[in-house]
Symmetry: C2
Subunit: 458 residues, 2 copies
């Protein structure tokens, strides 16, 4: 931490930029942790700065760069990789930059500032019959800037792609305080290198995303889910492949493994499925098409040996997705805490990965629960811990390390959508290889030569 | 050009890597030009090298980097921006690397080498009921590596995105001769910066793409086009917006302007439409859905004031797309040559851009013909020239410059899908701005510190 007199000087300079109400010191605790708080992760920072415009962000970065102050950018603070946990310097919160700059429903596009909550964006476009497909968890809290900075996914990334697929333009501030824009309200642009792709998913380590232009699509008339229960993960993973062979493009292919389903099955709309491995899929499109698709998917689940099938209608559909969104917090509630990872593997290695994730937990005396985006080979595995049980926490950390090794051995990655953040840095080199890592370092240096943007991350 | 003795030394060293049959010197002329040959663009090179494997590419790059030899990578040579036109050094052709390394139809993925012709890839996956959606022109000649290196688009990029959306992994050789892989047979991976995005569309200036993992989707059961004729570009562009407001997601929204239609209308299946501005769209999905979608699109065209509507069926559909693919060569044939550009603008500026493109031609005494991907705001404008008419050629170059300025003024870009290549370098800075350009330079330096990869491009 910096000395008081120095902190006072920065406070004054930053308040001159963003206004007195936009600087908070000492940093309030809620700005020092994110979705990893449950595993005890908390950072430190001297000041919290809340700019209200892109120009203010540029001036803040300029001040910080001139004074060697680190900057951790924070959106909604819902990340699961510690990406928003500061390691000193300032926290730059984007919450005051939440305007919709332009919305052209007839042209399927919107221009918004980084701090707009994801759910607010989704509601806004839905009101005009449109859809912004990325649907990461915690949409009420998360902000679109954070979704872009992590290239967020969600269940429907299976059919619709991750956030990157929907960003046509980015406005960002890069060191030493310049505003750069790439793309715009354009659907195609191949002039220059893909700065949009670089900034998307860079977790605040290359620049600070201040606004984005997003592509939208007409909302499907109907989206009809169907769930099937299988005797175990082998049969469930075979069902996932059967869905891919059904001729239909499912809107999502989710799964909930046996231990997770045992913990959260109550609350499933229409009554808990029996014990087993749950596969949840959905067909969307026009009303007729969704029905035909849902029937084809149901048939595929049936032929794959489902022991129970449910296809909710009407209000049951909303209830099903509310239930799906509740899995993560409810699993946390089982023991009070969890270490949650999100490795991804090629789809044909899913069964192996799931078996391995459970075995790893067993070896460390931990309950393991997994769910996630089966169609994308994206596994969210949680090892349950009781808060304050240091031994259990340590064993869970070791289990996560083994899980990363397993994913890499299966040709997968240490993170499908949550990001590298603080937590997976040591595995990044393993995933990238020496040449890839050298390029990553070189890119970082090109954007942030002083290494002040979100240090210790990515 | 290098001295004969030096060329001989390199010939020998490179032949030791790729075999004597894989080195050609002097460079055959067909390796010195690309799709821009019609405007007289030809480069120069000392040698052509045709490696047969990734390891050979790495060894070639190692030799070139150690000896300060420039490398221009060449796929099918169908580019329209001069990206494959060498400016000295060697041409590295990928045609001998055309293997399918793995094809997993049930998992919707394929792993192929860079030299595989695009049309061959498309046929192969179609044989298993799948589809690789990018459909740039000249698919028989173009190679998948070139599609990736230019982030190629095509009509169906409107619904399905450009090549980038389908690449889940890249294997590339980067200076000074290292093999780097990013992603793989994975559908999601956010570990590290987006090297896939960076290499895609980088036109051989950052690395040499040797193989890619591609995502596929089940082919739609049916794809039903419908075309409408409008009195002029204003009415036609209004129809484009009406299609976007129809509630259907069209698979494509193409247009052919009045002068182009006058030149190529003959051959339109079922007989030439009368004079006017043609809008061509398509609905795909299950048979029933395609019919319902096509009817909705037809209604939108009708309500937008189409004076003539055609909705081919059966063999007529293939004939329609064959006709669409023939527009570019047939426009070339009108005067023997053309300067073809592909600016892109926000969709709501399309009418202005089209009017401007024609006016620019008029001011320079040139016939202008435009067609392209209206839904993406992507305009292919050609200024016709007679081969050998130096004055006309010069006026056409000036017209293209004005077209670039116009696109930028309308908030657009100098290239929607063809790339920067040799031809649009002077406009790149204008599009990127100083901060964007600085980042582009820094990225280039990070990958290719000696500046030997495709010098003079990008």
């Amino acid at each position: 931490m910096m000395a008081g007199v120095e902190a006072g000087r920065h406070h004054q300079a930053l308040a001159a930029i963003v206004g007195a109400a936009g600087v908070r010191s000492p940093a309030p605790r809620e700005y020092l942790s994110d979705g990893t708080a449950g595993r005890g992760l908390e950072g430190w920072a001297d000041l919290v700065v809340l700019p209200g415009s892109t120009d203010e962000v540029a001036a803040v970065v300029d001040h910080c760069y001139a004074n060697d102050l680190a900057i951790t950018t924070r959106g909604g603070g819902t990340g699961f990789a510690g990406g928003a946990v500061p390691q000193g310097g300032i926290v730059l919160g984007t919450e005051r930059m939440a305007r919709v700059r332009a919305f052209d429903p007839l042209l399927w596009r919107i221009h918004v500032e980084a701090g707009l909550p994801t759910a607010e964006l989704q509601r806004l476009v839905r009101g005009s019959g449109l859809r912004f497909p990325p649907d990461p968890g915690a949409a009420e809290q998360s902000q679109i800037g954070g979704n872009v900075a992590t290239n967020a996914g969600g269940p429907h990334a299976f059919k619709y792609g991750t956030t990157r697929a929907w960003v046509t333009g980015i406005e960002a501030v890069i060191p030493p305080g310049e505003v750069v824009t790439a793309g715009g309200p354009l659907r195609k642009d191949v002039a220059g290198y893909d700065l949009i792709g670089l900034l998307t998913g860079s977790e605040g380590t290359l620049g600070i995303v201040t606004a984005v232009w997003l592509r939208l699509i007409p909302a499907a008339e109907a989206a009809l889910p169907v769930a099937g229960l299988f005797p175990g993960s082998e049969a469930g993973c075979a069902a996932v492949e059967a869905l891919m062979g059904s001729g239909v493009v499912p809107a999502c292919i989710e799964y909930v493994d046996e231990p997770a389903l045992a913990a959260v099955g109550r609350g499933f709309p229409g009554g808990a499925p029996g014990p087993g491995f749950l596969v949840l899929t959905e067909a969307d499109g026009s009303a007729a098409e969704a029905v035909a698709g849902r029937d084809a998917l149901r048939e595929a689940l049936d032929e794959a040996g489902a022991t129970w099938i449910a296809a909710p209608e009407g209000d049951g559909i909303r209830a099903l997705w509310t239930w799906r969104d509740s899995i993560s917090p409810r699993v946390t509630a089982v023991r009070g805490g969890k270490l949650a990872e999100d490795v991804a593997v090629p789809v044909d290695r899913l069964a192996e990965a799931l078996r391995g994730a459970t075995e790893i937990g067993g070896r460390h005396g931990l309950e393991a629960m997994s769910w996630g985006h089966a169609g994308d080979g994206n596994i969210h595995t949680s090892y349950l811990v009781a808060p304050g049980d240091i031994g259990q926490q340590g064993r869970a950390e070791a289990a996560c390390e083994e899980l990363f090794d397993l994913a890499l051995r299966l040709g997968g990655t240490v993170t499908g959508e949550h990001g590298i953040g603080l937590l997976k840095r040591s595995h990044l080199a393993q995933r990238l290889g020496p040449a890839g890592q050298r390029l990553n370092f070189a890119i970082k240096r090109a954007f942030d030569p002083k290494g002040l943007l979100n240090p210790g991350k990515g």
